[in-house]
């Protein structure tokens, strides 16, 4: 709760700094503010407190996910200084919009009422619609914003309709009351309750880019400014999966026969849609777009296999996925800035000119593939073990096949960097940038060797 308030205040402070034209203050203030928010968030560990007539409920789950969200946002902000360095304006609008969408994301991890879920999603989404189009004179960016907005509002329609149907059948917006109602009337639930659950699921799947509702993602990821894409592929995804989990584990876990089979199909479809389409990409941003679709599919496995360990598995998974995805986008930003292009061919010969950068990207790709001893392996292992424990053996086998397929395209940039010859000159990166990339690499390794660090919920 404190984190939510402090991030909101931070967003407003940044707008104020923009009015005062203090360009050099903005990033330091954001970093300080996020550190404070992170600290406040940590103090709420083990408090389990309800706020605003049970509109929000802060428990360890929400604290852990909020922590990861703030941390990942901070990483994205660290890359932003370099990304926007040629822009003269203070850019307070972009930074505060990012902070507001972080607010929405935090709300999505700690809601206890369907209205709050809806509010969180909208706060997050509306900021993201604007951010996707923030490169105002770029055609692709405009297209991305339009596509994102149209499909997003369509999904919101589904979501609202679902909420309405559930309210109609259970008489409450409160997650716990819905659960109690379901438990008491499990045999007399009307047909439209099931429809409501499925509609809610569809709405959330849209936001998470889960197949068959993923078609907007590649274009939007490709067209948006790279920094925003990094934010979208990580923070938005973590928030979405956290909301998905929280909603389904509290309210609908006792009526799982309604939704679990559909979600199972969604999961398999997403893994294969993402990985198979990823094979045919020759642009890094698009490829990571499809990769993020595939990873949403793996994360959905954690919801299909709801049990006591799946929250921890999802936390570990989203953290390890986001960490390396942000690193990959950070490198794409540099390469694109130097070479005006982010096709995979642009990375040819990068290992010779920029060995540390190539090493970081290699570690990122290997972690996304799930190669031990990196974080991606530990996360995949834990998630797959959870799914198998609940008896979804076939799902795990299909996911393993999906992982094997994904190795093919994750290796494309590695092959380009190390094995192909390029004529490009070396890319200049500032020391702080290199330090950031190296520390992400170390963190990836650390999380792989000691995954218990994050298996706290």
């Amino acid at each position: 709760m404190g984190a939510l308030i402090s991030v909101t205040v931070l967003g407003m402070v940044i707008m104020l700094l923009g009015v005062m034209e203090k360009k050099n203050w903005i990033l330091p203030v954001i970093m300080t503010g996020l550190v404070i928010a992170f600290g406040i968030n940590v103090t709420e560990w083990n408090t389990n407190h309800h706020y605003f007539n049970e509109m929000m409920y802060v428990n360890n789950f929400s604290v852990a996910f909020t922590g990861v969200l703030i941390f990942m946002s901070a990483l994205v902000f660290m890359f932003s200084g370099n990304y926007y360095k040629s822009v003269e304006r203070p850019l307070e609008d972009i930074y505060s919009l990012m902070l507001f969408s972080l607010t929405g994301a935090i709300l999505m991890t700690s809601f206890s009422n369907l209205v709050m879920l809806f509010l969180g999603i909208e706060i997050l989404s509306i900021s993201m619609y604007i951010l996707a189009g923030s490169k105002k004179f770029d055609l692709a960016s405009n297209e991305a914003a339009m596509k994102y907005f149209l499909t997003g509002s369509f999904a919101t329609g589904f979501l609202l309709f679902g909420i309405a149907l559930i309210y109609g059948s259970t008489g409450s917006f409160n997650l716990n009351e819905i659960a109690t109602h379901n438990a008491l009337n499990s045999h007399t639930l009307p047909q439209y309750f099931s429809i409501g659950v499925i509609l809610l699921m569809i709405g959330l799947s849209f936001k998470l880019a889960v197949a068959p509702f993923h078609f907007w993602a590649p274009d939007v990821y490709h067209g948006s400014p790279t920094l925003i894409t990094a934010f979208m592929a990580t923070v938005v995804k973590i928030a979405g999966i956290a909301a998905f989990y929280r909603l389904f584990v509290i309210s609908f876990s006792n009526v799982s026969e309604i939704w679990v089979r559909t979600l199972l199909i969604f999961s398999v479809a997403t893994i294969f849609a993402g990985n198979l389409a990823g094979l045919y990409q020759n642009n890094m941003k698009r490829m990571l777009g499809y990769s993020s679709i595939a990873h949403a599919g793996y994360m959905i496995m954690g919801i299909v296999a709801l049990n006591k360990t799946s929250a921890g598995a999802l936390l570990l998974y989203s953290a390890s996925y986001s960490l390396v995805t942000i690193a990959a986008f950070g490198i794409i930003i540099l390469v694109r800035e130097a070479r005006q292009n982010d096709d995979i061919e642009t990375f040819n010969g990068l290992a010779r000119t920029n060995p540390y950068m190539s090493f970081t990207l290699t570690i990122a790709m290997l972690s996304l593939t799930g190669i031990p001893p990196l974080a991606g392996f530990a996360a995949k292992y834990y998630l797959f073990a959870t799914a198998m424990e609940e008896g979804y053996l076939w799902l795990v086998i299909l996911a393993l096949i999906g992982s094997a397929i994904s190795a093919v395209y994750y290796f494309k940039p590695i092959i380009a960097m190390y094995l192909k010859e390029g004529q490009h000159p070396a890319i200049q990166a500032t020391t702080s940038y290199s330090i950031l990339l190296v520390s992400i690499t170390i963190l990836t390794l650390l999380l792989g060797l000691i995954p218990s660090l994050l298996l706290i919920i």
Binding site: I371, P372, F384, F411
Partner: protein, 487 residues
């Protein structure tokens, strides 16, 4: 503790090597570290009591409360494989001492990381750790072949990567399944995995998953297509490690995991699998006869020889399994020897094409002699290392089924045919016109590389007893696991 040191030293050493600037220092440091590792493994041998149980264990938690830990220990079988690894690595590093390339520090650094991964696989006592190190071995192996390989290396190494990766992911699935069938709280410790009573039907699936992983690595015939290309195009050090040590991971895996875990399914599947593998032996032998590129030739020879080992192990006959263990060591030594000699020839005459070579034995009699000894070891002449293993393998297979043994026995004839034909073309006859007459003799480093290998060929050939005795208690434990639940 000493086991932990064994695993950590090469990886720490690789950091030292990677940050060495001069090529000369890189080579020296890498060699010294691998030699230290070998000496350490000899110390391990001294403090080893060979009780049959895992000894000298080293354990750190990985996932708290989940029963998965960095758990390493040695039994006789592990120790033999570790000794093979630590013995071959200094030889391999020494043999590539005149290999010229850019970024040698990365090459030798990767070689040492690979050594850590291999020792990790051979000493792991935890299913998940086994997988982690198994997969860890793939990454440096991929980069060694991809960065320093020959022409068309991108496509070839990619195929290699995808094949092995797919195989090992299936193994991961199987290990997770087993892990979840241990009594709660789950544990991935080998001793707990062995206790899982999987129904025969489930064991079929386990077998499929494990065999895919191990079969690709070995490789056995229908899964072998990545191998000839990869061995041919890999740099010398890469081919030697892949053929000498890495493929033993597959056979070790069959012994350590597949046989104990699929004990009920195996008798049912045995006829089919052994028939396929045996057919593969003959197939690979016939193809080997037609090869003219020396490295590709060795690749096919290797498929034929390890096919026999695999067939022997899968027959679950105690004599054949003992033979397989000896033959794993012998094959590692022989195949590395063959690759070393190929490398010497290629460096000197700039070709590996048999038809362009000839008469080398007259130019360089010492090379001719050393080559002959290693070659006889490969053919399995009595008193060389190949004989002991191959004889026991064939004897064991004969007890399983005389027809299979007869078919597999043709490899001995075939190997005499193709090896001697190769020797004749390369070493005997008149020197081909393309070769300059004043060839250099073997250098001191090259002699130092070959002599340990030749000595081991003869030592194992004459005194196989100690090696068998070292593996025996560990193998007894594996037999005990097989018969613990008769159907």
């Amino acid at each position: 503790m000493i086991t932990g040191l064994l695993i950590i030293i090469p990886v720490l050493g690789s950091a030292l090597v990677m940050f060495s600037r001069k090529d000369k220092n890189v080579r020296r440091n890498a060699f010294i570290i691998s030699l230290l590792e070998f000496i350490l493994s000899l110390f391990v041998l001294l403090s080893f009591t060979n009780s049959g149980l895992p000894e000298l264990s080293f354990s750190l938690p990985w996932l708290k409360g989940a029963g998965i830990s960095f758990n390493f220990a040695l039994d006789g079988l592990s120790l033999l494989m570790v000794l093979l690894t630590t013995f071959l690595f200094p030889v391999i590093i020494l043999s590539t001492s005149s290999f010229q390339s850019r970024r040698l520090n990365i090459l030798f650094g990767s070689v040492l990381i690979l050594e850590t991964a291999l020792i990790g696989v051979f000493t792991a006592r935890d299913g998940i750790m086994f997988y982690i190190f198994w997969e860890l071995a793939l990454i440096p192996a991929y980069f060694i072949t991809a960065l320093w390989g020959g022409k068309d290396r991108i496509r070839i190494t990619f195929k290699f990567f995808i094949y092995t990766m797919t195989g090992s992911l299936m193994m991961l699935g199987a290990i997770i399944w087993l892990y979840l069938h241990t009594p709660a709280p789950h544990s991935a410790d080998f001793s707990d995995l062995y206790k899982v009573a999987a129904s025969r039907n489930n064991q079929f699936w386990l077998f499929a998953a494990f065999f895919l992983a191990f079969g690709v690595k070995i490789p056995v015939v229908p899964l072998h297509t990545w191998q000839p290309d990869t061995y041919t195009e890999a740099p010398p050090a890469g081919s030697m490690i892949l053929a000498g040590v890495m493929l033993k991971m597959g056979i070790y895996g069959i012994l350590r995991m597949l046989i104990p875990l699929c004990r009920d399914a195996l008798p049912v599947l045995q006829p089919v699998i052994i028939a396929i593998v045996t057919a593969g032996i003959v197939y690979a032998s016939v193809i080997a006869i037609k090869q003219t590129d020396l490295k590709r030739f060795i690749a096919w020879v290797s498929i034929a020889h390890v096919g026999l080992i695999t067939a022997g192990v899968l027959s679950m006959n105690s004599i054949a399994i003992r033979g397989a263990v000896i033959q794993m060591i012998s094959h590692g030594i022989n195949v590395v020897g063959l690759f070393v000699i190929t490398d010497i020839i290629q460096r000197r005459y700039n070709t590996r094409e048999m038809n362009n070579l000839g008469g080398i034995a007259r130019l360089d009699p010492l090379l001719g002699t050393l080559f002959m000894i290693i070659l006889l070891g490969t053919i399995a002449l009595p008193l060389t290392n190949g004989f002991v293993g191959e004889f026991m393998l064939l004897l064991g297979l004969f007890k399983y089924n005389s027809w299979i043994a007869a078919l597999a026995g043709t490899t001995v004839i075939f190997s005499a045919v193709y090896m001697l034909r190769m020797y004749q073309k390369v070493m005997l006859g008149t020197a081909s016109s393309g070769l300059s007459p004043e060839m250099k003799q073997l250098s001191v480093v090259e002699i130092a590389t070959l002599i340990p290998l030749v000595i081991m060929v003869l030592v194992i050939g004459c005194f196989p007893g100690p090696f068998l005795k070292l593996a025996e208690p560990a193998l007894e434990n594996i037999y005990a696991l097989i018969i613990v639940i008769p159907n």
